[in-house]
Each structure stands twice: as C-alpha cells, then as structure tokens.
C-alpha cells in the first residue's frame, strides 16, 4: 500500500474554491498556482524560458476547458495534469528541433552557457531532467509540492500503485546515476 502521509516540512496552501467557467476565478487560480506550475515545468523541460512558455500554454488549455472542470477535483492537481501533458508534447517537439539545430550549427562553435541555467546544473537536477517526464513529475509533486501518493494519483489519473512504482523507479535511477559519479 502506498504511503499517503505528507513529507515533513511541507505546507500546502489550503484549497481555494473556484467556480467553473468564471473568468475572475480562473484569473485567481492563475495567480495562486502559477509559480508552482512553473516550478514543476522547470524540472520537466530544458530551460526556464521554455518552462514559462509551457506554463502559459497550460493555462490556455485549462481556460478552454474551464467550464468543464468539476470542483470535486483539486484545480491545481488538474492544472498539473495539463502541465505534464504540455511538457511531454514539448519534449517531443524538442527532439525534432534538435535534429535541425545540429545541421544548422555544423562546423560552428556552440553558444556559451546561459547564466540563468547555471543554477540548474547540479548532477542530481540534470539526472532528474533525463528521467521520463512522468517519473520526474511524480518526484516533484511528491518531494517539492508535498502531494500525497493518493493526490498525485488523482491529479495524473493513474492508480496509486502506478505512482508508487514510478517514484521507486525514479529514485532507483537517480541513485544509480549519482552512485556512478
């Protein structure tokens, strides 16, 4: 049985109530959740600028379906689900772009490191970015946002057992990567 207790030291904001379809409420949801959604996306995509772009796309998609959202589910969990799908789509597009860039840069020196991403250049963070996005997402939701396995399962629309196995696989992979260094 998967554990559902909160990791220590995590304080989740009290759930706010929103009315589906209300533009004012959606704006409030945006203000309340933007930074956390951006945080999740930064771990899933290659850089901060892409994460910001994906965050905006997440809210665009969410707004299109805002009338269909049911208040029984957590609005932020719903946004996380959309954000993860946006990040997965972005990774696919990125793979296509990389092939084109490789041809374009052929014979030229690569650009220097972007100062904004130097902070993200730790071994652990880089190893995490190389995980499958669904594994990275459960790590962030669990270890940064403090969601329980049950909440993650509800947010992602998967069984709790799947969340537990994704977490275990992700931790095992990170341990292996860090152990090799």
């Amino acid at each position: 049985m998967a554990s559902i207790e909160q990791p220590p030291g995590e304080a989740k904001p009290a759930p706010e109530s929103y009315e589906p379809g209300s533009e004012a409420d959606f704006e409030r949801l945006y203000r309340n959740s933007y930074r956390r959604i951006l945080g999740t996306l930064i771990t899933l995509v290659r850089d901060r600028a892409t994460a910001e772009d994906c965050a905006q796309e997440t809210y665009e998609r969410a707004f299109r379906h805002w009338k269909e959202w049911r208040p029984e589910a957590s609005a932020e969990a719903w946004l996380h689900r959309i954000a993860i799908n946006v990040a997965i789509s972005d990774r696919r597009r990125q793979k296509l772009r990389q092939a084109g860039e490789l041809v374009r840069r052929l014979g030229r020196p690569g650009a220097g490191p972007d100062p904004s991403v130097v902070a993200e250049r730790s071994d652990l963070f880089q190893a995490m970015k190389k995980l499958p996005p669904k594994q990275t997402a459960v790590l962030v939701l669990r270890h940064y946002h403090g969601y329980s396995n049950r909440e993650i399962a509800a947010a992602l629309g998967v069984p709790e057992q799947t969340v537990a196995s994704r977490l275990a696989a992700a931790r095992q992979h990170l341990q292996a990567v860090l152990g090799r260094r």
Binding site: P7, Y30, R35, T43, R64, R93, A119
Partner: protein, 177 residues
C-alpha cells in the same frame, strides 16, 4: 526518509524556491499566440506538413502530366502547344459539329506515347530520366475518358472547350400526356 529523498528535496528547494520571488507575468490569452507558433507547433505542424506534402505531390503530378503531354518540362511550351492544338481542333470542326474534347484527348494520347517510346529508344527503359513520356496514368486517364462515353455526352459536358460557343444539344421531348 532515505538519503536520496533528502538530497532530492534539498536540491529541488535550492533550484525552485527562487521562483517564488519572481513576479507573475500577465496571463497569455489564446489570441496572443503567435501565428508562427500555431503553424510550427503541435497539431499545426502536422497539418502544415501534410498540406505542404499534398501541394508538392500535386505540383509534381502536374509537371509530369504536362511534360508527358507536350514533351517539354517548360510550362510555357505546354501552354503554347495545347493552345495550338485546341485551335487546330476547332478548325477541323465541321458545321453543326460541337466539342473538341476527343480531338484534344487524341493529341495528348499520341504525344505521350511517342515521348515514352522515344525515351525507351534512347536507352532509358523506364523512360523516366527526362521526366516525360512515362506517365501511364496521364495516358490512362485520357483513355479512360473515352470509355463508355458517347461523343454527344462529351461535347455537352466535360470535353467542351471554354472558348466554344454555347452548346445547344438537341433535346427531344415526348409530349406530356
């Protein structure tokens, strides 16, 4: 909590906590999305690719068909040759006869076959090196057009040249009871 979990939390907080100090940008509405991104990204990219492929295939088909008919890949020459033959066909029409479709169709058939055979004689069994005379579809289309159609039907509909005078087909009406 295991070491890796502790390390992970420390690392996530180190990287992601500074985000809480950043200002929240205004929400982008769907209307602000750039046209380029719509075309180049996601489903737009797939649709654009399909559309471009379709256009390229259609252009190639037109080129091959035109080259097969006229023996040249220059579209200006296609136009001149076709105009010439249309004029010839019109001149051949006798009084009271309408429709030059068959005449023009015969020209495309004969010329396509001649070019294909020419290509084979020049040591190109497929006849494809010069890009003309080997389009079986172009010829077949012309052949198929003739199948099962009477001259009158053709003259009254598809085979009619746009420059022809209006066709007034003879219609026999049986008297209503």
């Amino acid at each position: 909590m295991s070491d890796i979990e502790r390390q992970l939390e420390v690392e996530l907080h180190r990287v992601l906590d500074p985000i809480s100090a950043t200002p929240i940008p205004p929400r982008r509405s769907a209307g602000n999305r750039t046209a380029a991104r719509t075309v180049l990204g996601g489903a737009g990219a797939a649709l654009t690719l399909k559309l471009l492929t379709g256009v390229a295939v259609a252009a190639a088909a037109v080129t091959v068909a035109g080259a097969a008919t006229t023996g040249s890949i220059n579209p200006v020459i296609w136009g001149q040759q076709v105009s010439q033959h249309v004029a010839d066909c019109k001149a051949k029409l006798t009084d009271g006869q309408h429709g030059i479709g068959d005449c023009v169709s015969d020209f495309s058939n004969q010329h396509g076959q001649a070019v294909a055979s020419d290509a084979r004689h020049h040591g190109n069994p497929s006849g494809s090196a010069n890009g003309h005379g080997n389009n079986p579809n172009a010829n077949d289309h012309a052949k198929n057009k003739n199948k099962g159609r009477s001259t009158q039907t053709k003259g009254a509909s598809n085979g009619q040249d746009p420059t022809d005078p209006p066709v007034h087909a003879t219609v026999t009406l049986s008297p209503q009871p």
